[in-house]
């Protein structure tokens, strides 16, 4: 059996949460006696990745996404289970692993607030001991790709969220890592910045063959850049496969949007349709499995006579929400 590039086997992480007491006396007391509650942040998660894959790692808040990334990047030790990234065990060989990975942890900036990004770039050249030529080439490449020319010499404190995220991503890639871990790269960004980032992530993967794991809340990120997704909730893996399989497994059909000029008629309860959302002049109706879109449209027009009617393929976001419900 050949090893995959990234192998995660039966990974578990328990957090012991200590009840801490106040002040020095409390601190001294808790040195000798402490009470803990155990939280299982990651439970028995296994997956493997090939070189060059882009995988979306999704789950609700507190699902264990960041904890998994921290174990993959060598920040935390697993409670049990194993991780191997390109043959290196990250938490045993942390420094060696660090040379081969790039990490962006959400909005925690690696930039110096008072200095322009270009200063942080120079610092990273020395931190990773990069050859001059590789450094210059990558600087030019990422400044161009992420469209950073206009703000590269501005102090970081004057930059927008999107600009800072671009800079953080560029910095994490200057040493040509094999793997890039992105924790919530698009959180809080506007639509345009999100698009630029998604395009850049695709481009980096295609051009540099970088393996990328990204965690996100935004399903549009997944649709735009990932062929594969892994879904976890409460520390456990619920799904691992292609986006197409994900839709096939959890897709419960389609929905229809009905718009009315005036007050809509009364909703008639029936087994085939479900009124999912309702506002003054608009309904979202979900159709049950087995009904064709054509039949549903004719049926609903006959019954309610809407002004407009749209058929909507279910958004992946709704599918995910439904999937969490199913697994609860």
């Amino acid at each position: 059996m050949t090893m995959s590039f990234i192998e995660v086997k039966k990974l578990c992480k328990d957090y012991k949460i200590a009840k801490s007491e106040k002040g020095i006396s409390g601190a001294v007391k808790s040195l000798f006696h402490r009470e803990y509650t155990v939280k299982q942040a990651v439970r028995n998660v296994s997956f493997s990745l090939e070189k060059g894959e882009v995988v979306g790692y999704i789950g609700p808040n507190g699902a264990g996404k960041s904890t998994t990334l921290k174990m993959l990047s060598g920040v935390l030790l697993p409670t049990s289970g194993t991780v191997s990234v390109g043959g290196i065990v990250p938490y045993k060989n942390r420094r060696e692993n660090a040379r081969h990975i790039g990490v962006v942890f959400g909005q925690r900036s690696q930039l110096y607030w008072d200095l322009p990004i270009s200063d942080t770039f120079d610092l990273y050249e020395n931190l990773y001991n990069l050859p001059k030529e590789q450094f210059r080439k990558n600087c030019d490449y990422y400044i161009d790709l992420l469209d950073m020319k206009d703000f590269i010499d501005q102090p970081v404190r004057q930059l927008s969220l999107g600009q800072k995220m671009k800079a953080n991503i560029a910095i994490s890639l200057l040493h040509d890592p094999d793997v890039l871990y992105l924790d919530e790269p698009t959180i809080g960004l506007d639509v345009t910045s999100k698009k630029v980032l998604r395009d850049a992530i695709k481009e980096i993967n295609a051009e540099k063959k970088t393996t990328i794991i990204l965690t996100t809340h935004d399903m549009d990120d997944i649709e735009a850049v990932c062929k594969r997704l892994i879904m976890i909730d409460q520390g456990q893996k619920l799904f691992d496969g292609t986006l197409t399989d994900f839709r096939a497994k959890y897709n419960s059909g389609f929905s229809l949007k009905l718009e009315f000029d005036s007050v809509p008629p009364a909703w008639q309860k029936c087994s085939q349709y479900e009124l999912a959302e309702q506002s003054e002049h608009q309904w979202i109706v979900r159709a049950a499995d087995g009904i064709s879109a054509k039949d549903a449209m004719i049926d609903l027009i006959n019954r309610y006579d809407p002004t407009n009617l749209y058929v909507q393929e279910e958004r992946i976001e709704d599918i995910v929400r439904a999937a969490y419900e199913v697994n609860k």
Partner: protein, 268 residues
Amino acid sequence: MKHHVKLFYSFFQVAVRREMAYRGTYLAGIVGQWVSFAATFATIYILVSSFGMVGDWNGAEVMVLYGMDKLAYALGASFFFNFSSGLSRRIRSGEFDGSLTKPIHPFLHEILSCGYNIGYVSHISISIIVLVIALSALQYHITLHGVLLILSMVVSGALIQGAAFIASSTWSFFTISDHSVLDLMYDVRDFIHYPITIYPRGIQFILTFILPFAFMNFYPAAALLGKEIPTGYPAFLPYLSPVVGVLLFALSILLWNWGLKHYQSTGS
């Protein structure tokens, strides 16, 4: 090694540029510190000279004691103060995790990226001035031997202070409560503003063997000025500062690494 020197230098440049981004604030800070420390030195001097002696130390000798302490403290603090006082916050905000994804030891990365508080230039300069004035008032004859002694004592003192900063920051790996240990250190340090011979034997013992801050100024100054040390303590003790400094510094790093292990396995 060459890599480390380059790394050190490039982080140092960044630290200086950061401070200089707000030149006005920086300069005002230096002047403020100057005024405040000059006032403290003056107060102690006036107090001691109007009461005559503290123990068997006169005003100028106490100034040597205080100047030495401030100089060693400022040297240690310029490298380790930001590091120590910021660790807890950096762990909470997640910035510390960034240091664990870099190809150098996280201790080194923390020191490099948040160290060098160049504001301590004010402490350093005023301590040197006070030391020079106090020593010339004592008509101390400067010899090569004396200069070397003073230098080695100051460096040892800085190492002891650094060790205190490193050791107290280790606490941050275990608890989210802020600063309690750092504050404790400052409270203990207040004792060494005066010669320890004026204190009860219990406190002398603690400051010598348990929390050996007395090696930052009392013992070096006693060696320099030929002063009495607590009765019954070995006569070579005043010359032991370099050994104590190096030993404590090494121990504090071991302690810090042990705390780091704990953090990595528990996520704090």
